[in-house]
């Protein structure tokens, strides 16, 4: 019974739980409730991936209305993988949340925080699971609106302008996406992705479809923060509450990358996107420019959260670089880095949250001697940071390996060299933290502090354990990514 309705349960569960959060009295029960919901969501995601691995893609007709008339939820290897990632990060971050939320968000707003968080989770899961192009837009708006709310909850008043900024740009992006979908509907009369893919074959020489492709690409690259459309990201990540930053940094942009892959490869098809529209001419330079510019900017940041935010822009560059090759290895690199970066950045932002909880600042200048004051958290940050540099035995190395292999396979040696140089820039910005934490003395007036509570340590270390374990046991991540890449390029919807 449950197995047959897994796809809809995946969405309904967090969606219905969100309003209940606001109704629960007394408030102290809100978090345990949310915790159960989030882990149940993760359980469902794992069951669904398992089912896909065993018996192939799942198609679920909503309300019994068959596709292409009704809305279809369609789960295949690629989105089952991304759904698992989103659900995992959601569960881990919510486990971590209560202490940090108590510290950073006013008491009476906390139920609303949890409700918005669940809505955001619902939206992100929905974007991934649906097989209907318009439905993507609907879920995109659910996740975006809740994200604007979550960001604006930050203590710093600049969180409001950051949220507003993101609201404007995010809406422009979403509108572009909607225009693209509308144009496709105009030409084909369908919104179902599989149906679209087959009907587009006949009309994709028309200017309308080419314009649709352009609108969609620009809208999606804005949502996934590809340089130079990333300008909403640094402020949003910096001023949002720590928990929110950890969650959206690890999931929101990744889900947008997924939508990009879905539209470009399964709906339009690689032949059209790369052969006719030459999207690689656009993606490759922008990805490389993003990697370098954002890494360079990250080096000069004095705020640890902003430093990591710029690093995220650079890492998205790596993902898009892999995709821009349009080859199996390149796509594998992109997809595997999508997963790996989420783990590493999630762990890093959770560590930053723990630091803020105890030190009450994330300015590098205030973190002198942190290695002595918070040894466990500092060490966690360094470990996750090593992953970002791409040191062997971490997931970062796996991503970099596939990316370099893809570049060399394509015969683009200079690109390979540029990727290597850029990882040294990551070394520089991570080392700024290392030198601050371990080589500067503890300030004389620094009050003694204790490590963050165990409830925050465990989720953080869980992500770090994954970031290291999956760097050795690669069959889950790289294995699935490779199968997904093969399947995306085969062009089957």
């Amino acid at each position: 019974m449950i197995a047959a309705h897994l796809p809809i349960l995946q969405i309904i569960l967090p969606l219905l739980a969100a309003p209940i959060c606001v109704l629960i009295r007394p408030q102290k029960f809100v978090w345990p409730f949310v915790l159960i919901v989030s882990w149940a969501t993760l359980g469902l995601a794992a069951m669904m991936l398992n089912q896909v691995l065993l018996s192939g893609p799942i198609s679920y007709a909503l309300g019994g209305w068959e596709a292409p008339w009704g809305i279809e939820y369609r789960v295949d290897l690629l989105n089952a993988f991304v759904i698992l990632l989103v659900a995992l990060i959601g569960a881990v971050v919510l486990t971590y949340a209560p202490e940090s939320v108590k510290r950073e968000i006013d008491g009476d707003r906390q139920p609303y925080f949890y409700a918005a968080f669940l809505l955001c989770l619902t939206g992100l899961l929905g974007i991934c699971i649906t097989g209907d192009a318009f439905n993507v837009f609907v879920f995109l708006e659910i996740s975006s609106l809740s994200t604007y709310g979550l960001i604006s909850l930050g203590r710093d008043r600049r969180a409001l302008t950051a949220a507003y900024n993101y609201l404007i740009l995010g809406t422009i992006g979403a509108t572009f996406i909607l225009i693209g979908i509308g144009l496709m509907y105009m030409m084909t009369g369908t919104l179902n992705m599989a149906d679209l893919a087959s009907r587009l074959q006949g009309v994709n020489h028309t200017r309308t479809i080419q314009v649709a492709f352009a609108f969609l690409s620009v809208g999606l690259t804005l949502k996934l923060a590809l340089f130079p459309l990333h300008i909403w990201l640094p402020n949003a990540y910096t001023y949002a509450p720590s928990v929110v930053t950890a969650f959206i940094a690890a999931t929101a942009t990744k889900v947008s990358v997924y939508v990009f892959l879905r539209f470009v490869f399964t709906i339009f098809g690689a032949d059209f996107a790369f052969g006719t529209m030459h999207i690689d001419y656009l993606l490759l330079p922008l990805a490389l420019a993003g990697i370098f510019v954002a890494s360079a900017v990250a080096i000069y940041q004095s705020n640890l959260k902003r430093l990591l935010a710029y690093s995220s822009v650079a890492q998205i560059g790596y993902i898009m670089l892999g995709i821009s090759f349009g080859t199996i290895t390149g796509l594998t690199a992109g997809i595997v880095h999508l997963f790996n970066h989420a783990l590493m950045k999630g762990a890093l932002f959770l560590a930053v949250g723990s630091i803020f909880l105890r030190i009450n600042s994330v300015q590098l200048d205030d973190l002198s001697g942190l290695g002595k004051r918070l040894p466990v958290t500092s060490f966690a940050f360094v470990l996750a940071g090593l992953g970002l540099i791409g040191v062997p035995l971490t997931v970062g190395f796996i991503s970099k390996w596939y990316l370099l292999l893809a570049a060399i396979e394509a015969g683009w040696w200079p690109v390979a060299v540029l990727v290597l140089i850029s990882s040294l820039m990551a070394l520089v910005y991570i080392w700024r933290f290392v030198e601050t934490a371990y080589f500067r003395p503890v300030p004389d007036d620094a009050p003694p502090v204790s490590e963050a509570p165990l409830l925050m340590q465990i989720p953080m270390w869980l992500l770090i354990a994954l970031a290291i374990g999956l760097g050795v046991q690669t069959s889950l991540t790289a294995g699935i990514a490779q199968r997904a890449a093969l399947w995306l390029l085969a062009g089957a919807p």
């Binding site: 090593l386 540099i389 791409g390 040191v391 062997p392 035995l393 796996i398 970099k400 390996w401 370099l404 292999l405 060399i408 396979e409 390979a416 060299v417 290597l420 140089i421 990882s423 040294l424 070394l427 080392w431 030198e435 371990y438 080589f439 050795v472 046991q473 690669t474 069959s475 790289a478």
Partner: protein, 484 residues
């Protein structure tokens, strides 16, 4: 113990010992005893592998597959066997020396020191037993990261600056060149396994082979080829036991070991000889040999002079590999052992002088032979071995290296080796000679040796150089089998 268990045990013993050492941090004597015990057990485990390997077996362990057709693999072959014996054997001597030094010198954070030391040894042994380039690369990077806290042990501004150079050069060369070369090789050959005769034959054009070899050689920053040698003198801010074992044996030898291994098992010496791809590398090695020696002469700080001497000596090994013939490989691999015994003794002596007399500059060391006769005696023996004079071990490796130069008809290499011996005499001998031939410094009162825990190991390693001259047989047997 079966060979496969021994391989795993040898790599894991120091790694698992490290947390134990950390736990015993408060009880110094117990902690130090445990460290020595682990070192002895590790060495014994490595030794159990020798008979099988000498008999021609190549025991291996396949762990997990990381990339398609590319797994974490450990396999023992003669070159790795030799390196593992040297590293684990000298770890025992260094641990004993370190207790004397760290206590005599009142160093802080000794537990952290011994912890990372054990991790570093584990990585070095892992590198020695690597069955493919990927495994070797993993161990190589773990070694870089685990020695960073040792190099920056004092946490001073000076240590921070040195740490930057250390990490900067080692990580950027390994990520920038070595990784690139590896991935290119994987793309060309579809594997990174160490196979006798190499994996690239017939698969790539001449100029690609040449470029790859240079990428590998410069990418192995630990081999300290010029112009990527600056990290080694910087690393000398570390406490002396670190300089002794890591920056005369484990770390730098991992570098040259990697190069020899790549030459023999990735390219194959026949391929290099045919294509002549090694030519450029021989010139780089010659420049480094002479350049290192010349800079060493200008240094008054004893550890700095030894560091540049190491840079120069490491390139002997690179030169042997680049000459691409059997004599060269034998000479290069023998030099790994010979130089290890000689240079570790010299560093031990430098540390002992620092502990006993608080002297670091060579110009202050006139006449100290009268205060520290054993230490300076050992210093003299080790200097002679580095120069390559009989009856000391260093003579053998230089012999084979010169033979290799003649066989390859590479007279520049032969000339460099001979000239370098003269330079060695010029910068090493004055230290020992001045120590004995000048009167004892003013205000000294009789004998003033370092603690016994410091002196015994350095006498032992000096004796080792002597023994290796008279009984090079087992070592030579191992070296002859490399690449077979």
């Amino acid at each position: 113990m079966s060979p496969t268990t021994a391989i795993i045990a040898a790599c894991l013993l120091p790694l698992c010992g490290a947390p134990l050492i950390a736990l015993l941090g408060r009880r110094e004597n117990l902690r130090d005893a445990v460290t020595v015990l682990i070192a002895v057990a590790t060495f014994a485990t490595v030794c159990t592998l020798v008979p099988a390997v000498t008999a021609g077996a190549r025991p291996s362990v396949h762990l997990i597959e990381i990339f398609p057709n590319l797994a974490l693999v450990f396999q023992v072959e003669p070159l790795g066997m030799l390196f593992a014996l040297v590293a684990s054997g000298l770890w025992i001597a260094t641990s004993i020396y370190a207790f004397g030094y760290m206590r005599g010198h009142h160093e802080e954070n000794q537990t952290r020191f011994f912890f990372f030391f054990a991790v570093a040894i584990s990585a070095a042994l892992g590198a020695a037993f690597s069955g493919n380039m990927l495994t070797l690369f993993f161990c190589y990077e773990v070694l870089t990261l685990s020695t960073y806290p040792l190099v920056t042990h004092h946490r001073s501004e000076e240590a921070k600056a040195a740490g930057r150079i250390y990490m900067g050069i080692l990580l950027s060369t390994s990520i920038g060149f070595l990784l690139l070369a590896m991935i290119a090789t994987y793309h060309i050959a579809g594997t990174l396994a160490f196979v006798p005769g190499g994996i690239l034959t017939g698969r790539a054009s001449e100029w690609i082979i040449g470029v790859l070899l240079l990428l590998y050689a410069f990418g192995t920053g630990k081999a300290a080829l010029m112009p990527f040698h600056r990290w080694l003198p910087s690393a000398m801010v570390a406490p002396t036991p670190v300089s002794a074992l890591l920056h005369a044996v484990a770390v730098v030898k991992t570098g040259v070991f990697t190069i020899v291994k790549i030459v023999v098992y990735i390219f194959g010496i026949d391929l290099l000889a045919e294509t002549g791809a090694g030519t450029y590398l021989t010139y780089v090695a010659c420049i480094t040999i002479l350049g290192g020696s010349l800079i060493a002469m200008t240094k008054d700080n004893l550890k700095a002079r030894l560091a540049y001497s190491t840079i120069s000596q490491l390139s002997y090994i690179v030169l042997g590999a680049a000459l691409a013939n059997n004599w060269g490989i034998i000479g290069a691999s023998m030099h790994i052992a010979m130089h290890a015994f000689g240079k570790i003794t010299l560093f031990f002596c430098a540390g002992a002088i620092m502990v006993a007399l608080h002297k670091t500059e060579i110009s202050d060391m006139k006449g100290i032979g009268r205060q520290m006769p054993f230490t300076m005696g050992a210093f003299l023996i080790a200097s002679l071995s580095i120069i390559g004079l009989p009856p000391l071990g260093g003579a053998w490796s230089k012999w084979y290296l010169v033979l290799a130069g003649l066989e390859a008809e590479h007279y520049i290499a032969v000339g460099t080796l001979l000239l370098s011996s003269l330079l060695n005499i010029a910068y090493l001998m004055p230290v020992a000679v001045n120590a004995f031939f000048y009167p004892a410094p003013e205000g000294s009162h009789g004998r003033q040796e370092a603690p016994l825990a410091c002196v015994l190991p350095l006498l032992f390693t000096a004796l080792g150089s002597l023994i290796l001259f008279f009984y090079p047989g087992p070592l030579l047997d191992l070296c002859r089998q490399i690449g077979r």
